[in-house]
Symmetry: C2
Subunit: 558 residues, 2 copies
Amino acid sequence: MTDRNRLIYLPLGGAGEIGVNAYVYGYGPVDQERLIVVDLGVGFPDMDGQPGVDLILPDIRWLAERRDRIDAIFITHAHEDHVGAVGHLWGQLRAPIHCRAFTAIHARRKMEEAGHSAEHVHVAPVWPARVEVGPFNVQFAPVSHSIPEASALVIDTPAGRVVHSGDFKIDRAPMVGEPFDEELWRQIGQDGVLAYICDSTNIFQRHPGRSESQLPDPIGALIADAKGMVVATTFASNLARLKTLADAGVANGRSICLMGRAMKRMVTAGEEAGVLMGFPRTLTPEEAQDVPRENLMLIVTGSQGERRAASAALSRGSYLGHELSEGDMFLFSSKTIPGNEVSVGRIKNALAEKGVDVIDDSHGFYHVSGHANRPDLEAMHDLVRPRILIPNHGEYRHLREHAQLALAKGMEGIIAPNGAMVELSGNSPRIVEYIDVAKIYLDGATLVGALDGVIRDRMKLALNGLVAVAVIVDEDDVLLEDSWVALRGLPELSGKGDDLADMIEEELASAMTRFDAKTVNDDDRLEEAVRRVVRNLCLVEIGKKPEVTVLIQRLMAA
Amino acid sequence: MTDRNRLIYLPLGGAGEIGVNAYVYGYGPVDQERLIVVDLGVGFPDMDGQPGVDLILPDIRWLAERRDRIDAIFITHAHEDHVGAVGHLWGQLRAPIHCRAFTAIHARRKMEEAGHSAEHVHVAPVWPARVEVGPFNVQFAPVSHSIPEASALVIDTPAGRVVHSGDFKIDRAPMVGEPFDEELWRQIGQDGVLAYICDSTNIFQRHPGRSESQLPDPIGALIADAKGMVVATTFASNLARLKTLADAGVANGRSICLMGRAMKRMVTAGEEAGVLMGFPRTLTPEEAQDVPRENLMLIVTGSQGERRAASAALSRGSYLGHELSEGDMFLFSSKTIPGNEVSVGRIKNALAEKGVDVIDDSHGFYHVSGHANRPDLEAMHDLVRPRILIPNHGEYRHLREHAQLALAKGMEGIIAPNGAMVELSGNSPRIVEYIDVAKIYLDGATLVGALDGVIRDRMKLALNGLVAVAVIVDEDDVLLEDSWVALRGLPELSGKGDDLADMIEEELASAMTRFDAKTVNDDDRLEEAVRRVVRNLCLVEIGKKPEVTVLIQRLMAA
């Protein structure tokens, strides 16, 4: 029984959250399955959850421990939440990476930045060509999304065909890249699909999705009416949108200037991969300074309110020689990702203070989503016709809603959040094992586990402030009554107006005379005793119990 | 010239932000104006901007310095962003408070909690009765909003009539409280209005607002279809909504149980003030345990995802003897305030994990806003017919949009953000002075200025982590080469796996032998030298420059 072959699916990131995508498929005898990895993405930290952290990475310990069983890593597309962790994590996996040409440009850069050879990244041919690795036969089936060369993976195994949807929408005229190909999908479905692992981002959007091709007209009309400078922001990777924006600018007699490193990098990559054709000539920010503002259009990074991006810089003041003023227009050709509302709002307000007219997508004219809405998801279900549907790329509520839809439509729907290993090859899909998955944080140059306590400690410092206390135990094991106190993130004065650090030192001087030898001779006891004195005093004097760090210095006889 | 009388308007909070409302009107000779205060509200801190802070209060230093000129404080309604700071700040102002009966219940409680007498709160009669204070003649004109007895203030002065809109919407059937009275507003406008200071919250909402009376049918239909327990959440102060929810529950054979302190307090206050009639009988959580789940409806606090409220508690597990499970329904009869998306999403996901069906307002059936949308604002402009319109209760972009609308309609529109003192009595309104206004944070039991650096320091700790170092300079002014190091919010091990605290102690031992006497004998220099060593080492070893606190202990000869 244990050496029968089975087909498994294991999400390590991206199922139960939007971002940090990392999925595993395996085929073979139990615990000896050959493995492939699909996507290695990152997530972006915030002050609320991961202060000071640079990036959120998926927890791949399970994979790293089974490194010798990994045949390949496949990347579906070049968004950071799918490719961003490749450089940071490849060293633990060391398997060949397969992806399409545009994605490969980004994957290779990330490998090189992390000190790995770019040669581990292989450009995969598109459907119907196959990449054969171990027991897996993988085809990159083009889908429309908000970045060029996004792909679903059609994974044929001895146990049947699995389709991994990748991020997708149904767009028959995506402006840049391959349009949705209904016939191709019908064909994929006709051969019989065991399981469809499917994007759930927009499951709650009940209207059919809109096409990128619906944008040029309203955006053109908007720019035609603009009197001053026009600035537009969107995701740098959305090359179709960049082209729509730039073309609309040119059609209205404006020169185009791209601002933000990611913006230029993406356009260059698009041209290099041959997916972006006919992008208008652009000026450097310096050249653009000579262009009258009514003839200029800036296309800039920072649509999510990122503090260091061009949008934020322009909202604060002059940036690369350009400054916005009364009568200019700023277009958010983008949706604000939940959690970013406050930072985006900050930029809008700062622009309003400059007299800039801010146009956003609140009326739905200037942006379309890159993910399939509910009716489009249903259309895909009907083409792919899987026996099993497993929702991914969604928070838990998205997964649940999508699984319920699948059940209602007669498929076997199952909710598999991160860490839930599903056996697909049995009579019906079931979760056969739960793997512990936390998150890993890239923090400066080190990797910190989400459960290591480091980040939790930072949050405690931020919420409570800190009192650092140094006490000295002399050569004769006598605790000196003097202590030294420093405050961080706390008011200098108590509610009554006294110096708080002085008060703590006085209180300690008096309390420490009462500490017994057992306390003085034991670091843990002494630390706890000092902490209690400090916290109790602070509660009385400032109404807060701060964090307390005690440095105990035991002097040695010379 | 300097002793001519003038009429001024000065927002101290709420203009350039949504929340923390505090406005001043003054009449009299320049710098001798008699003053009234309208609203003293609070704002709610978040980890991103004010970690550890309990409440955000308006900066009333300007007012406190002119305390003898304040004739009265008026509170328009009982929402926390209008009345919440009354207890915390009254001690600095000490003027009588006027508000309507329902608001007075809340204002009195806040006064008592802060140790002030509730007798300073006076119940004001409604229009056409007047409260005469100094040169001001003030009438409370009822408006519809999402709380009972919300009022605009009609302020007659020797320089003319000013109307302070308060928070309002146009609702001709608000279910609880006074319906919108068009005739009353026509009358207010007919007497001639100099200036209208007007709510701008929903200026970007282009469709006419909807009435509270549109909700009972869809909410009733939803509950009729529910199979398991029904839980609904909304703002506790929205008594109309609480009644609609409770009535719909009762009509469908369910017993009602209120959970959350604010919920019970609001219903009691509504009954006490005589504004809430016929609220169904409620069960205590304990009594409700005996009711079969299909016959029970909980109405609970925490619609904004507050971690300690009933909604969050129920999403996590059992709360007051009740636990949600598969087939139950949870209705958010509320809008998520920008910035709260992530916390609300966390609750929705936790509920989905329990198998609960979550219904929110994404389709607009189960919630209506308490603020006037653009067409309703225009309707009010046309009734009040002011010469000057000054937008308030909005972020800068709302104020700008509303002022532009006013200009387009032939009014004199002016943007006056917090601190901008506007003279209303001249030929045309103009900003005559800018007052420095920051924010004040209630932090435990002390008040901390937003610019004091305390909160900034907390954020630095959270972003960078902290190294605390204790060094000893002995009786002979010799720096001991031993130092003691403690880490907070930093990984214990370097990227290479060495103990970081040990490495820092070793590096300091070696570096400190090279410090010259000038450095050792000067606290600032010594601290800076130690800090530099620590930060440089950490940058190399963990890729981060932490905060460093240095405790220098200079031992005295005995």
